[in-house]
Symmetry: D3
Subunit: 250 residues, 6 copies
Amino acid sequence: MTSFATRLRARDRIVGFWQVTDNAVAAEHLAGLGYDYLCFDLQHGLIGYAGFLAGVTAVDAAGGVSLARVGANDPAPIGRALDAGAQGVIVPLVDSAAEAAAAARACRYPPAGGRSFGPMRAGLRIGPDPRAADEAVACVVMIETRGALDDIDAICATPGVDGVYIGPADLSLALGAPRPGAVEDLPEFEEALTRIAGAAESAGIAAGIHCFTGAEAARHLAGGFTFTSVSSDLSHLESAARASLQAARS
Amino acid sequence: MTSFATRLRARDRIVGFWQVTDNAVAAEHLAGLGYDYLCFDLQHGLIGYAGFLAGVTAVDAAGGVSLARVGANDPAPIGRALDAGAQGVIVPLVDSAAEAAAAARACRYPPAGGRSFGPMRAGLRIGPDPRAADEAVACVVMIETRGALDDIDAICATPGVDGVYIGPADLSLALGAPRPGAVEDLPEFEEALTRIAGAAESAGIAAGIHCFTGAEAARHLAGGFTFTSVSSDLSHLESAARASLQAARS
Amino acid sequence: MTSFATRLRARDRIVGFWQVTDNAVAAEHLAGLGYDYLCFDLQHGLIGYAGFLAGVTAVDAAGGVSLARVGANDPAPIGRALDAGAQGVIVPLVDSAAEAAAAARACRYPPAGGRSFGPMRAGLRIGPDPRAADEAVACVVMIETRGALDDIDAICATPGVDGVYIGPADLSLALGAPRPGAVEDLPEFEEALTRIAGAAESAGIAAGIHCFTGAEAARHLAGGFTFTSVSSDLSHLESAARASLQAARS
Amino acid sequence: MTSFATRLRARDRIVGFWQVTDNAVAAEHLAGLGYDYLCFDLQHGLIGYAGFLAGVTAVDAAGGVSLARVGANDPAPIGRALDAGAQGVIVPLVDSAAEAAAAARACRYPPAGGRSFGPMRAGLRIGPDPRAADEAVACVVMIETRGALDDIDAICATPGVDGVYIGPADLSLALGAPRPGAVEDLPEFEEALTRIAGAAESAGIAAGIHCFTGAEAARHLAGGFTFTSVSSDLSHLESAARASLQAARS
Amino acid sequence: MTSFATRLRARDRIVGFWQVTDNAVAAEHLAGLGYDYLCFDLQHGLIGYAGFLAGVTAVDAAGGVSLARVGANDPAPIGRALDAGAQGVIVPLVDSAAEAAAAARACRYPPAGGRSFGPMRAGLRIGPDPRAADEAVACVVMIETRGALDDIDAICATPGVDGVYIGPADLSLALGAPRPGAVEDLPEFEEALTRIAGAAESAGIAAGIHCFTGAEAARHLAGGFTFTSVSSDLSHLESAARASLQAARS
Amino acid sequence: MTSFATRLRARDRIVGFWQVTDNAVAAEHLAGLGYDYLCFDLQHGLIGYAGFLAGVTAVDAAGGVSLARVGANDPAPIGRALDAGAQGVIVPLVDSAAEAAAAARACRYPPAGGRSFGPMRAGLRIGPDPRAADEAVACVVMIETRGALDDIDAICATPGVDGVYIGPADLSLALGAPRPGAVEDLPEFEEALTRIAGAAESAGIAAGIHCFTGAEAARHLAGGFTFTSVSSDLSHLESAARASLQAARS
Ligand SMILES: [Mg+2]
Ligand SMILES: [Mg+2]
Ligand SMILES: [Mg+2]
Ligand SMILES: [Mg+2]
Ligand SMILES: [Mg+2]
Ligand SMILES: [Mg+2]
């Protein structure tokens, strides 16, 4: 079976879902819907370690693929997410090619990187050969700062980086938006998206972006991006419940 | 402020939401949307005691009202749900007026009932006077068996029973449906609903029914029922996420 | 070493503390203060199974003795509390000698009782001989209903019942108090206490009562009771924190 | 694929493992070893609801089969175990054919039984047709009291009972053993085993027994029993760790 | 309503309470007593992420204000505490003005700082405008090292630092005390307090100090400090329970 | 009583066990078997903070000694592990004498180090004198990189470092092994072991190594190492359960 990392690197069209709450039961149901991955947000999501571990287990029960957006570009949490069974990480706030290289190193065993060996749960599905594990793990770095934008070509060319992923809230603030995503008067934002997707394409790596609706996801997949997450369990649940309330009271 | 129990007894039009997963963060967000209550399903929901306690706390943080559908018509879990801060219970599988009376007794302190005193968390919001607490707690019994249907008038006339609540899945199976809710060829089902709502109205208590969509809720509120829950967090999340996936891939 | 049950049966003067929140760290600290036992309130306390298991472990870490006030007079939760390592149970709402006998049976293995064998954690400290385990476990029944008061002599004479324990909140309501503990105009309450303590003394079993302050505990220990719990972590914490706030603002 | 319940009813030779601690990671590893089922002990095991839910999810992640030994012969915990995804229950302390019938009823929807509908997690794998769910769920009753032994033929003939399961610790105590399993001088014990296995064979249902070693399991499977659990994670871990310590110090 | 941060910056007299155990129920009760804030100690307290999340929710249920003493001066845990709903952070071991500036940056969105956007729970109460969120968040840095003492004027003048907070245990050790708080022979300690309070006053920011009793808090509020925490739930509970035991045994 | 740290420094022969799952019940059972310590693996183990806290409490209940292999060489997690009651830490990936000095500093209070004071649970067993606490805490650094091997003499001579501990999986990969532990064709590995044990002996500190079987542990203890951990609960459980399955099916 083709691994998720392989599909990502091949720039396949990939659609994931983004979970921000600690809810393994929901994760299992969501992972069974057909999304290509379920990403647990360990940076802004309200999920501790135990919740994440339960979540990746639930996704495996559904036959799905788990990713983790880790809390920081730091080998310790990256290693923990991978040991628990995530098939890749999305690393926030990568500000330069040097930081991208550090993220990549944290995802791979020596000699390719510096990951420490101990795949206590991941080893159930990815065998003991470190090289195979390196292959099977996806390293995605987030582009959401001005520094990253300025260094985008070098970031995309960093060995071991399998994809870039735009965080539109942070990137828009970084570019001067008054509120996250308020980019109507900020043409630089759309230009940045184009620039990033182009750099990824040139480097032959995946180009991803965080979205909030399926329609937005479709538009980006049609416009140069190869993968996207629809976010989030919490906002989807709120929208659906709000709609039901309106219907009930109408 | 008028308590929830008072509104229920007054047969106000009331719309709640139904939560089946252990997710206090979602509970807080949902309780802030304007629903009249959030009911934690401790019978079929995937929620243990710790999750329920976190959930009622989260609903209080949102300024909302919590109910518990308890796991059985048993004084111990009913007392625990109320001590934790639920403003009422929905008691499943009540099969007779005698069982309804037992449910009512479990919700009230002596002399009205047999609830044991110890509102460790509920006491934060409902004062030390047992009579006031009895007033502030809603006791709703589920009508979902043939026995209950046969005894519906006596159930509705049971002192301390503030409302009845139809469980359509179980009731439809009890009436012979091949699958839960498959009532197209089962006119008895619709007749039962009418009969139950009528009995409640005659007795002057609330008439409730479990629903799955806002439209269904609106129809029932227009057709003789005074309250309804839209169910559930899990199914709403699945529907919304499925729709986003279709849109993303279209 | 003399077991707690032996001391209780010998009508030693015993003072325990009463915990109502899920807080193993606090349990360990409290159990180290010199109390004869720490009782986890699984009826009205806000403690689920996992919290209780952590709590008894913490008490063992402090070298203390754990009891459980179980949620109901039911063999399943009684067995679970004992299997987890409680050295005794306090069984609520025992209303007759027959119910007291059922509580006693639930605490002891055949042939003395009907407890099912499987002391998964308790077995670390109490050996495999069922007779020794029966000896080492204390069975205390609560006297807090009118039925129990009426049947007090027979309850105290029930084989396997090691002590009675008055729940003053429920007992006062049962006797007609307007609020729990509001017994100023209810001489029957004080008479009931005397009657219960006397019946226990005649039967040669322990006589206990739930208290809220150390002074109240001392008064009862001087007046015919052999054991008492000071209640609770939550009220003690609130009182102490309230006093500190007043001092800080004075 | 043949369901576990079908294999059990067909009297296939089946070997399971028995888990008594709250450890989903271990459950996933154990379920991948090739055992026919992993049974979570919710009676004597140290596992609360949240731990059980995590455990069944982990077993599904390993592609295994989960059973639950529930805490009591009570519809509420039986329903909760099945709703969470257990493919069957082992019901303790069933003392008569009437109690066996109650256990069977709790496992099946109307009209076959009285299970309430709400398979919130189980529904992920077992479809919405109640009859199919009834088929897919195994109901096993424990024979571990004198009453059960006396009524064994009627128990085995009870519709909906798919197997019997001997609890040797309790059964040996019930028959007069001085310690659980101390049956050297108790020929009635071995006779009881033969009697129970024979009754099950005559009735065409599965005959199971709890074991502590693989050798014991093999002996019973060769001697008339069709299924067995090897118990437990805790005792296996202790034995293995003790052996390693001896080797390390030798 | 005036936000906590505004009151802190205005150098109002503020008294908080300090929680070191994982106990949301206690947090809710404590937050209702009238303290100006409840601070969860995520550095030395025995509270993991899930416990903290439950705690801030409970404080919101009580209508209180939550702070977090984070584990380190690191943007990741600072962001997580704020996203979860803390209205401010107390950052330990800030050793210089540069470190203070880093702490302040971690609390504020661009362009004021570098906080990443994703207030998954905080967004329930603080709206989407990053500038308003920046205003509503309090950044307090701890003065508890010799480096901080030497750089105190620059630290107090650091933009975005809303207050300083003395950790007397660490500061006393840093100044040479033989045991934490053993400052009888260490006049430098009292001088340091005066120096720090004075620097804060000159800079117009809040001056805080950790206390252990209400009397100590009152003395400091009268002597130049504008805010203080009374510490802790654990020590208050121990003191109160110890006093009750003495009274019970007297 | 001689503390663990004292025994370690005295180069006593010490055998520990290594736990990688969140299972306090198992920890209590394991700690009672006679191992000199139980080490919780917070780097590669599947244990969050709450699980670790429960684990150290359980080890104390068994009268054992807890260590923590922390997730990184970082003062915050080192302090948290010690505050929770670990009697020492094993610090991974220490690559130089400077890093070893940082690890040692994180374990000791001023003036010896920079540990922040707040032993909220550790203080139950280690008194308030910081010097005594410093003495009672063991600091072990892992040698598992080429950098560490090159700097081994300086690392061993670092004040405050009580022992070195070889991580054979990472060290073998660092030295070029194709898979962790595949050192048949890698004589450098065995030479490195000799070199490290010798450096520790020269410096008079403890020499430790991670093992997987008791036999391997015995061999290393006979060959120059003074302490070893047998790893792990998960692998021991799998081996024992696999053996039972084979026996059952034979
Ligand atoms: Mg971002
Ligand atoms: Mg129903
Ligand atoms: Mg009571
Ligand atoms: Mg049994
Ligand atoms: Mg400090
Ligand atoms: Mg390593």
